[in-house]
Symmetry: C2
Subunit: 474 residues, 2 copies
């Protein structure tokens, strides 16, 4: 719709496509629940209240008397790649859980496909009904210890920030670089601030003067707090604190009771998933956040605000989404029950239909490129016994531990030891670049035979292969 | 300060200029009051809490134990020209009332000096310690019924929107133009939205479908509600509602008790003055808003939020001002008493000193230009008696009334009639353009002799002269 058409739809000169009548609107602007009709034209909410002058012969009228209408939920920070789905399929899967908006940080795609990947994401966003906004990954590669598929240098990042639909700079996980005033990182942040956009943070365990330095750099949010005390310090210092409940890290059950106990206003907080694995996505998404928050004692309207208006205000897109308001996108969740947040149906841009399926270019496929690997490529050679560092994987934790074990070579090679749960591990560069292989030993998987490999390997997404013997690994 | 210096100041590598110790901070982020020390460097808050590592040999330490620290107050919408002061002097006068930030809409200057006037304002803002942000006037001239000093056409307005320090498009008082989809107005609004900035509204008495049309145009705020019911409808529909208490219009005492009664969340509201006449500015400014709100039953921290964080969030400058947070400007009000909001001292960008006095160019002076006026220029001629429309001025109201009176000519001229309080009035074009004179009769002033003229004449600011006889008027 043009702006003129929107105005005329608001005035009622152009009749509505759709009217939802009799529902009780969860008004996150005034924190009230009021029964009102809603008129929708061209995917936009064009009337609330008396909409009789907007009803035409072709207006579809849906009676939702007795039901509630919540704004569509927003995931304030997600790397959707962890869902193993394309953005379109992820967005469609999210809709059934009332999640119609997302702030995505396509950090994984950027690590594999670079700027071309971001361009593809931005293009895909355009075709989606869901309200997807993009943060430009700030730290690609995330480390110089391995080879990534691409580098997003400072000029590339800053140029990408100018795109419509880009709401800021993705989590600046290189916080040591920020605190050391790395010129490239500072240039990215300054450009973000000049554009009036947001710079997301990533600062687990950061408090005190380091936090002050990070905030002084212009970083405005964080989703990595390890403890409640850390989270509340960040909020008090002026940071937006993302309450994360994802497939990996979970914090709602620890943080929310403390927030209630302390009587803290929730304006500076919003809900995020960070990552949502496919099996979890089937079970629920931001609707699960809302239900958990309500169960923990937050009033429904505040729980809903935590993943609607709060998020939209933070990312400065509250004129587009985040509330059931006139002129905003008709992203609406019709609820049978407010306290239980049971979803009746979901409208995305005024429609219950999904989005068109995108066609990806050839270059987005076959990105795993490396030469043939032979068992001897994966061996660690030694003629003498060694005290070896063993990586120790810890269940349900992101961080790994380590221990030292004595390994004795056989035939000049250090072998895995199943009895001590010491497996071989290797990282194989798969971007068709250096072809290098990093090798070591790992404990914690408990394999008795065979090997396992994957390219989901944060953040550079090379091949990681683990096994009981190098033949199976190769 | 460069971004690097800010980071190092946050970390404590660069020592603080100033430390305020022992105060109780009004934290509008979490709505808590917590005792904490504050470190300030280069006009920025660089530390809150344990600031010991930021104290150096040259750090000035001020003990404010027992006192409170509020964020500097913000006037969310003001035409500062009504103060009869330059921007610099207005800003300095505001500081004593804890008002360190303003969203100014220099509509009057634009009507006299046009783009050159706006450029001068933008330049003056740069030199001020106070946190002044500019809305670009959208309706210059405001009417085609009189001659203004300048025209801000659509290309001029949109180009001005790009300036740093400009946070949006000034109140679009031409709401009929918006509702009729006037292409020029729509272009201005679209450019504003593309830039992620705000379009201020001006829609007294507007409700229902007209309001829906206006909101669909992308207008995000209003300060002209005539009644509480109108204001609350606007807030519920998704508009930011400015609670106005100025020298002309006043609404706090009517609206606030109703807001409290209805239990409405105040997130969508903020305080503005719109106009502040000099005699009122001496008595108080946004501090008076806070005191009034507290007297009417709003908790102090919420009253303060209504002219700090709420305003900053609306205009998307909460990363700069609006809270006592790290990385924000050190615009701080030290209070002896929170409930009474009694001000001890005020810091603007970390300083209690004023701003440098600006030097204005010659073209900003002598803008009143018209030929000699003679009594006969101001006469209304008639050979027969007439039923004349008389403008009726109403005390303390913006709108005028009217009545019809019979006037009898003497010597071919219609004369004022002091007994019936019918005075002559004329509007004399003073921009050195057409030199035209509009003439009529007015009631309500009650002059018995003489005449009175002024160039404060919204919105084109021509000379308005009123008197008991044309000789004195000339």
């Amino acid at each position: 719709m043009t702006l003129q058409e929107r105005i005329f739809a608001g005035k009622g000169t152009i009749k509505a496509d759709l009217a939802l009548t009799g529902g009780k609107i969860v008004n996150v602007n005034t924190k009230e629940i009021l029964q009102d009709d809603i008129a929708i034209t061209g995917g936009i909410i064009v009337g609330i209240g008396d909409i009789s002058d907007k009803i035409g012969d072709d207006t579809e009228i849906i009676d939702i008397t007795g039901k509630f209408v919540s704004p569509g939920l927003i995931d304030g920070h997600v790397h959707y790649e962890s869902s193993m789905l394309t953005l379109t399929h992820f967005a469609i899967a999210a809709i059934r859980h009332g999640t119609t908006g997302m702030i995505i940080d396509p950090h994984e795609i950027a690590n594999v496909l670079g700027k071309r990947g971001i361009d593809l994401v931005l293009s895909e966003v355009q075709d989606l009904r869901s309200s997807i906004f993009v943060m430009i990954p700030s730290c690609v590669p995330a480390t110089d210890l391995e080879t990534s598929g691409a580098i997003l240098d400072t000029p590339t990042v800053t140029s990408l920030l100018y795109n419509d639909g880009v709401v800021g700079l993705g989590e600046v996980m290189d916080f040591p670089g920020v605190l050391d005033a790395d010129p490239g990182k500072l240039d990215m942040i300054e450009e973000t601030l000049v554009l009036g956009k947001r710079g997301d943070g990533h600062c687990p365990g950061m408090t005190g003067s380091d936090l002050a330095g990070y905030l002084c750099a212009g970083i405005s949010s964080d989703h990595e707090s390890l403890t409640y005390d850390e989270a509340i310090e960040k909020a008090r210092m002026g940071m937006a604190v993302m309450l994360r409940e994802g497939s990996a890290a979970k914090s709602l059950k620890e943080f929310i009771p403390r927030l209630i106990e302390d009587g803290v206003a929730l304006d500076s907080f919003f809900f995020v998933s960070d990552d949502r694995h496919p099996e979890d996505l089937i079970a629920g998404y931001m609707d699960a956040h809302v239900r958990t928050a309500i169960d923990l004692g937050i009033p429904p309207i505040d729980a809903i605000s935590l993943c609607t208006i709060n998020t939209a205000k933070h990312y400065r897109i509250d004129h587009l989404i985040g509330s059931v308001s006139i002129g905003r996108r008709a992203d609406l969740v019709v609820l049978n029950d407010l306290e239980k947040f049971t979803i009746d149906r979901v409208f995305v841009s005024g429609s219950t239909n999904g989005s068109p399926k995108p066609v990806y270019p050839a270059e987005a496929f076959d990105t795993v490129r490396f030469r043939n690997i032979y068992p001897e490529d994966l061996c660690i050679k030694s003629d003498t016994p060694v005290e070896a560092n063993i990586i120790v994987a810890v269940p349900d934790e992101i961080f790994t531990d380590w221990r030292i074990e004595n390994l004795h070579p056989e035939g000049g090679i250090l072998h895995p030891d199943i009895d001590r749960d010491i497996l071989s591990i290797a990282v194989i560069e798969r971007h068709g670049k250096r072809g290098s292989i990093g090798k070591g030993f790992v404990s914690g998987f408990g394999f008795k035979w065979g090997a396992f490999a994957q390219t989901i390997a944060h953040d550079s997404h090379n091949v990681i292969v683990t096994g009981t013997n190098v033949e199976d690994m190769a």
